[in-house]
């Protein structure tokens, strides 16, 4: 496999400070490799969005990053720890190296400015020496890339449909040719036809431009199709991680299995939809041991006592990890 572009090590993100802090992301390790699509799935409240906003340091107060490292590897030059950048450095780093496509296509664009203004200001902020003509040409090219006519530059966001707005956001995310694009439920607000259209386009663009994608969604079936690797989050932790096909065919963690049975499969044999009984854990009062054990149909002795570590399962499949006592880690230190 290729070399890593973004390494998250032991990342912790809290809401609030001191005793009242709610630990939303707990010691997450995750690696994104150059050019791959890494899917991140989980129920709402599992911490997947918090993880994305935490690692980019965009989480609003009272969110704080309380530990860990986020190492970015540029194409050339030494690795950068995103969490130790000063605001000025961070501003330069943002969008040029990692860009983000947000959930709400409706609210991501500034309603009072034209599309052109919002595309051009990011280019100008990062490339102050470029000429206005060059910037405009780039903006036109970007819109063409996502299949929007260049005359839409003069439109205001409210004049665009939901799908168009999200495509403008994708065009904007690619404006500076970043190595990493983080997508937080980019298609959730759209209808299924539009969803597939945009995802198809995205796959094509990635092929051409070679950026890596961290794709966050609650829709696991989407990831199975669209991503190279999938990580599952539960209660602020990664609980399973595997190549997409393997995860789909052979989920190890009971929670992953439950998630897979919550969506109809797009291809392949029909499966019974069962869902997962119970509700996601309260981050303020997490269950002891494995956070999933109160809902787990296969829970047994150690589950409510000891937190299972995340690692390759003992039955030898080195390219995947799981945190479950059913599949104890091969070499527990």
């Amino acid at each position: 496999m290729t070399d890593p572009v973004l390494e998250i090590r032991g990342l912790r993100v809290d809401y609030g400070l001191g005793d009242q802090a709610v630990r939303a992301v707990r010691d997450v390790d995750l690696t994104l490799h150059r050019g791959e699509v890494l899917g991140l799935a989980g129920e709402s409240g599992s911490g997947k969005s918090t993880l994305a906003y935490g690692l980019t340091r965009l989480l609003p107060p009272p969110g704080v990053v309380s530990g860990g490292q986020v190492i970015y590897h540029p194409v050339d030059g030494p690795p950068v720890d995103v969490l130790s950048l000063t605001p000025a450095q961070l501003r330069r780093f943002r969008w040029a190296e990692t860009s983000i496509v947000f959930q709400g296509a409706m609210n991501s664009l500034n309603p009072v400015h034209k599309v052109a203004t919002q595309l051009l200001d990011v280019i100008r902020a990062h490339e102050p020496k470029s000429t206005p003509a060059a910037r405009l040409a780039r903006a036109r090219e970007l819109l063409r890339l996502v299949g929007i006519a260049a005359d839409r530059l003069d439109s205001h966001p409210h004049q665009l449909s939901g799908g168009m707005r999200q495509r403008v956001m994708i065009a904007m995310a690619l404006a500076l040719e970043p190595q990493v694009v983080i997508m937080d439920e980019p298609t959730t607000a759209l209808d299924v036809v539009m969803q597939r259209q945009i995802l198809g386009q995205l796959a094509e663009l990635r092929e051409r431009l070679g950026f890596a994608v961290l794709f966050i969604t609650h829709d696991l079936s989407l990831l199975v199709e669209f991503s190279d690797r999938i990580a599952i989050m539960y209660g602020g932790r990664i609980i399973e991680q595997a190549p997409a096909g393997q995860l789909y065919r052979d989920a190890l963690h009971p929670y992953t299995e439950g998630l897979l049975h919550s969506f109809p499969a797009l291809h392949g044999p029909r499966r019974e939809l069962t869902g997962i009984p119970g509700s996601p854990p309260d981050l303020r009062a997490m269950p002891s041991g494995c956070a999933f054990h109160p809902r787990c149909p296969k829970a047994f002795d150690p589950c409510d006592e000891t937190l299972p570590p995340l690692g390759p399962p003992g039955d030898g499949r080195p390219d995947r990890t799981v945190a479950c006592w059913l599949h104890p880690v091969a070499t527990p230190r």
Binding site: S99, I100, F102, L109, M172
Partner: protein, 325 residues
């Protein structure tokens, strides 16, 4: 332009409502107000004035209310607001014409300056939450709770007085003739500083606070996060993204509060004996000069409506969503 058309129709409707209200108010007076005026001002009212009052109150004729209403409109459309009782035989329109420029100059300009300044400070307070500007908020709350006219009294007591630079009353030096020359204009400015400062101090805090709260609300919108994620400069995110959007509700709030503000600021004129509409209204009330009172109310209402329309135009220019072709 549909939006503007709609608003214009609404303001015309409001103007009609205000004028109709104006028509009915004197007719609600119990008894014969003219007779009581005559008895109170024994021999000091001329016969013409009595006649003019009777027309106003609809007491002299046996016309139906509807005919009186039509007559009232006919008069109004000719710019005839009746004769002032205090300044007899001057027509009300002349009295108002003399004082209107003073009010527009003082109240109009200070209201706009107060809005702009307050909004600018509110942007700062809302963007840099927890900074020193937040510490000013309690003080501004206190200042805005003080009646304008009382603050004026205090300002006179503290700053004006014999030998002070600030005159305590009037709009210009006694003995000067109103004209745009080098004697009159400096004098007029000198006389307006203290009343203007009074209005500014007590009206600004409302704008600071509402803009601060809008900034705080807007700051959690997704497009602000996107702007940060884009690595734009702090200044650009604060002004072009946050403040630009927070301004919209503040402008519509400005339009809606104009009626309240103008009412309050007129009182400052009373304290400073400033020769504007507020002071004129005060005098009219004191001498029960109904035609003048009504005329002033009408002109204030119409000025506020025009100001509202201007605020709507400003809103139209600021918000592309209302600018549908």
């Amino acid at each position: 332009m549909r939006f503007l058309l709609q608003r214009t129709v609404f303001y015309l409707f409001t103007a009609w409502a205000a004028i109709t209200l104006n028509f009915f108010i004197p007719r609600l007076v119990p008894g014969d107000p003219v007779q009581s005026l005559i008895t109170r001002n024994q021999g000091r009212i001329s016969a013409d004035a009595i006649e003019s009052l009777r027309v106003l109150f609809g007491l002299d004729r046996n016309d139906s209310l509807w005919e009186q209403y039509l007559d009232y409109w006919r008069q109004l459309l000719h710019g005839d607001l009746g004769l002032s009782f205090t300044f007899f035989p001057a027509p009300v329109s002349t009295v108002i014409g003399d004082s209107l420029p003073w009010t527009v100059g003082l109240v109009g300009i200070t209201t706009i300056v107060s809005f702009l300044l307050g909004t600018a400070l509110g942007v700062g307070a809302g963007w840099r939450r927890g900074s020193w500007i937040d510490g000013l908020l309690p003080a501004t709350t206190f200042l805005s709770s003080i009646p304008y006219f009382w603050l004026g009294l205090v300002a006179i007591a503290v700053f004006a007085g014999p030998g002070s630079f600030f005159p305590s009353s009037g709009g210009y030096e006694a003995g000067l003739v109103p004209a745009f020359d080098q004697y009159f204009i400096p004098s007029a400015i000198q006389h307006s500083i203290l009343p203007a400062a009074t209005i500014l101090v007590s009206s600004m805090s409302g704008w600071i606070l509402s803009m601060r709260n809008m900034m705080v609300t807007v700051s959690s919108e997704d497009y602000i996060t996107v702007a940060h994620a884009k690595g734009l400069s702090e200044r650009r995110v604060a002004l072009s993204y946050a403040a630009r959007n927070a301004l919209l509700p503040n402008v519509s709030g400005f339009a809606l509060s104009l009626g309240f503000i103008v009412g309050g600021t007129l009182l400052v004129e009373i304290v400073f004996s400033y020769p504007g509409l507020g002071y004129q209204l005060f005098q009219a009330v004191g001498s029960k000069d109904y035609p003048l009172m009504q005329g002033i109310f009408l002109i204030i209402t119409i000025s506020v409506l025009v100001a509202n329309l201007l605020a709507d135009v400003a809103y139209l220019l600021l918000d592309p969503r209302t600018r549908k072709s």
